[in-house]
């Protein structure tokens, strides 16, 4: 196995081409290669090695502009993202409307491992309700699969990547079987206070689940559970697990992790996949389309080698798209042929329809009880330790909106960075001098910020299509977005804001103003939360969906989707763990279909 060039890739016959190297592509490539399939992974960005490229202990004064966010690095200089953001040079997208509230903002990361290098590592399972939302409230779509279908894959993914958390037995917040989870870290002081006061509002606060190793993975028992009957795969993953260190309780996960303590595709999926000898990786290669023969079977992909600008072709028995929801849509729509004039998989006309993001809103406050606390190290696991899962399932009828949200909140004495003010400037006066420094020490660590993360219901006004005029720098037609939040999301945000303000008061803080009751003012724009899914939704029949329950396109049976594009709903739970579980399941299906000679 190796990183290959376009010419060497062209000489080989692959079983499967995997487009994309993030959570979906990485998991698909892992599962396929561990079971012996020969895979070519094609990534649009450059190679990236977290072991040598992660700024672990650099302080912000070592970076330009104190590492604060810029259009070049929106999450700050040390964020792991390379060649990414809401705009990528040379790779535009457009919006049909000039009204900001009707626009979608598309985040991409052009690098090996994609967004998994910088993600928050929040690894929540969808619950049973989340696969059958229409059956519960008549809105959106049911998935053609249930929680029971996905559960074994959640188990396996958790054991493979390493997830901390615990079982709390809460409604629609699934527990994991014994042996899946790692112990959660202790809560920080602000998290404890939020938990105590949240209880008075009926809000449960429990350990969050994050893909961070709080202790080394159990390499002696897990491999046999992941790959029963496959001694070679067991040996490879057992060895790789021993090369991942547990968290040393410092540095933010958003920078990536050189000791491989958290999940990134580049540190968890790709090294063992490469060790099988079955994985070739082609970087800096932008897939343009899938090629289909006269019989309606995919034969491979057409891609642009970014270094030379030349168009190339690679062949395989099957193609798995894990390019990220909207990029997968783009490849499908650009795969026009005589047989499929509207794009591949698009007989239903639904490719690009029902794009969803997570509903987001923020509110923050200052908590006098947390002032002047003695210095202690609150770095922890480089992200959240606790959160509040959605708690009002029983109140659905009286909320005025469907579905719900979970709450992520951050507090504590994190590493000072960016241009954050350290003083509250009471009475509007700008403090300075020794009194300012005293205030700064007093208030540092006494703020809490809440983020609601809620479910959006798919709607007909949120979609993407090919722009009829605009192409990227390689001449590939780009996506044009249309976006609209429904009243459900708007009202949900108003509920979030009220809850957060109440919570701050319950913690003894005061709100300078109460939140605006109009959720439109607070709702984050489409794409801001970077949880876009949908666009090639799975379903029970070919007329109303793009793929079947195995994420296999109805139209072309050797084309599969291994990313968020197949989501038929977007639960409040962060999508990454579900993407991985489904990608594993889909890769199993690819292997089955190949064994049976169907593809």
């Amino acid at each position: 196995m190796a990183f290959v060039t376009p010419s060497s890739a062209a000489e080989k016959n692959y079983d499967v081409i995997v487009v994309g190297s993030g959570a979906g592509g990485g998991q698909a490539a892992y599962t396929l290669t561990m079971d012996g399939a020969r895979v070519l992974m094609i990534e649009a960005g450059r190679n990236y090695d977290p072991r040598t490229e992660t700024p672990m202990f650099q302080t912000t004064d070592m970076a330009p502009l104190r590492a604060s966010g810029t259009p070049d690095k929106p999450f700050g200089f040390f964020d792991a993202t390379i060649d990414g953001g809401w705009s990528v040079p040379g790779e535009p997208y457009t919006n049909a409307s000039t009204d900001k509230s009707r626009q979608f903002f598309w985040w991409r990361a052009r690098m090996l491992g994609g967004r998994t290098n910088h993600w928050a590592r929040h690894a929540l399972r969808n619950g049973p309700y989340d696969f059958k939302p229409r059956s519960r409230d008549g809105l959106g779509f049911d998935w053609p699969i249930s929680y029971d279908d996905v559960e074994p894959y959640y188990d396996k993914v958790e054991m493979l990547i390493g997830v901390y958390g615990m079982n709390n037995g809460l409604e629609n917040t699934p527990d994991s079987p014994e042996g899946c989870l790692l112990p959660p870290p202790k809560a920080r002081i602000g998290e404890l206070l939020a938990r105590q006061r949240g209880r008075t509002l009926g809000i449960p606060v429990i350990p969050i689940r994050r893909a961070v190793l709080t202790r080394p993975l159990d390499h002696s028992t897990i491999p046999a559970k992941l790959h029963p009957g496959n001694a070679r795969a067991q040996r490879i993953i057992a060895e790789d697990m021993q090369n991942r260190a547990a968290c040393f309780w410092a540095t933010s996960c958003g920078r990536g992790c050189s000791i491989r303590a958290n999940y990134q595709s580049t540190t968890v999926h790709l090294p063992p996949a490469m060790a099988t000898g079955n994985l070739d990786i082609l970087v800096n290669a932008m897939v343009r389309s899938i090629k289909v023969n006269a019989a309606g079977k995919a034969t491979g992909v057409v891609y642009v080698d970014k270094a030379s600008g030349a168009e190339n072709h690679a062949s395989a028995r099957a193609v798995v798209l894990g390019a990220s929801a909207c990029e997968t849509v783009r490849v499908l729509l650009n795969s026009k042929s005589g047989l499929f004039p509207n794009g591949l998989g698009n007989s239903s006309g639904l490719v690009g329809q029902y794009i969803m993001d997570t509903v987001g809103a923020n509110w923050g406050g200052q908590i006098p009880l947390l002032e002047n606390l003695p210095p202690h190290n609150e770095d922890g696991a480089g992200g959240l330790h606790v959160y509040a899962p959605w708690w009002l399932y029983k109140d659905a009828a009286k909320l005025g909106f469907a579905r719900g949200y979970h709450v992520e909140f951050g507090s504590g004495k994190g590493m000072p960075g960016g241009y954050a003010p350290f003083t509250p400037d009471s009475d509007g006066r700008t403090s300075f001098g020794v009194p300012m420094k005293e205030e700064a020490r007093r208030y540092y660590g006494s703020h809490i910020g809440f983020s609601g993360r809620g479910e959006m219901i798919p709607n007909k006004d949120s979609f993407c299509e090919l722009d009829p005029k605009v192409v990227d720098k390689w001449g590939i037609p780009v996506l044009r977005f249309t976006w609209k939040w429904s009243e459900h999301e708007i009202r949900q945000v108003a509920h979030m804001q009220r809850t957060f303000a109440d919570w701050i008061e319950a913690m003894g803080g005061t709100n300078k103003t109460r939140p605006d009751p109009d959720g439109r003012k607070a709702i984050a724009g489409g794409g801001f939360v970077i949880h876009e899914v949908g666009g090639a939704i799975m379903g029970a029949d070919a007329a109303t969906s793009v793929t079947n329950s195995w994420a296999q396109t109805w139209d072309v049976k050797n084309v599969f989707v291994a990313d968020g594009a197949v989501f038929a709903s977007n639960a409040d739970k962060n999508p990454t763990l579900t993407i991985m579980a489904l990608a594993w399941r889909t890769a199993d299906r690819v292997l089955d279909e190949m064994r049976r000679g169907n593809i």
């Binding site: 700024p55 650099q58 004064d61 330009p64 502009l65 104190r66 966010g69 810029t70 259009p71 070049d72 040390f78 390379i82 953001g85 997208y93 919006n95 979608f104 903002f105 809560a187 920080r188 002081i189 404890l192 105590q196 429990i206 040393f248 309780w249 410092a250 923020n362 509110w363 923050g364 406050g365 200052q366 009880l369 210095p375 609150e378 770095d379 992200g383 909140f409 951050g410 507090s411 504590g412 994190g414 590493m415 000072p416 960075g417 954050a420 003010p421 350290f422 003083t423 006066r429 700008t430 403090s431 020794v434 300012m436 420094k437 540092y444 703020h447 809490i448 910020g449 983020s451 977005f481």
Partner: protein, 216 residues
């Protein structure tokens, strides 16, 4: 509180969920066409392992006089104390120069505010004390800052100077509290590898009437 302030507080909290706001960063506003990369920014793939200092990516542009005024103002905002040095002695004026010289939208916007403000404070010092701000006596420098510290009414003569002072103060504190010295001064003691994470000290938990005894 508006969303941007909430986001700043999230950033201040440090441990918070990752958040960025494309509008606040000056990313493409209308989504019709992406803003071209800044002519002389660090680009989308800078070497993250290398330590940088102001001036490495784009030239510093404050004049000698402006830097002198800025340094003096920095030190009124963060003066030397027994346990901690002043802002200018840990390079904060270099950071402010880097900031106002940078090609990014936020910085370009601040550049006008800061340059106009430095000119105003220099002129005002001449008017009040008959000498430049950096040459004024310590008490004179403080008294001038006192004049612009309150929030000035809209349309008043001090509106722009007071806005400048707030912005300059924020840049100074951001610059200072992100240095190793400033982080220590603030009480940040992380960024060190540890074998275990033990949570907050037990006596602190008890003092706040909290409990971490729930089994998790």
């Amino acid at each position: 509180m508006d969303r941007r302030l909430a986001i700043k507080w999230m950033l201040a909290a440090g441990a918070g969920a990752m958040l960025a706001d494309p509008f606040a960063l000056g990313a493409p506003g209308d989504g019709q066409a992406p803003v071209p990369p800044p002519a002389r920014g660090y680009g989308t793939d800078p070497d993250l392992m290398k330590p940088y200092k102001p001036g490495d990516y784009w030239p510093l542009t404050l004049s000698e006089g402006e830097r002198r005024t800025a340094a003096a103002l920095c030190d009124v905002i963060v003066p030397a104390e027994a346990q901690a040095p002043s802002a200018s002695s840990v390079g904060v004026p270099d950071f402010i120069d880097e900031w106002v010289s940078a090609p990014y939208p936020n910085c370009v916007k601040d550049r006008t505010t800061i340059l106009d403000g430095l000119a105003w404070i220099e002129a005002e010092s001449g008017k009040r004390f008959g000498k430049g701000f950096a040459d004024a006596a310590a008490a004179e420098r403080v008294s001038l800052c006192e004049a612009v510290a309150p929030e000035a009414p809209e349309g008043s003569a001090l509106e722009a100077p007071s806005k400048f002072f707030r912005r300059f103060r924020n840049l100074t504190t951001a610059g200072y509290f992100t240095t190793p010295v400033g982080m220590r001064d603030l009480g940040y003691i992380g960024n060190v590898p540890m074998a275990t994470f033990d949570g907050p000290p037990a006596d602190l938990v008890a003092k706040l009437g909290l409990t971490d005894e729930v089994k998790w």
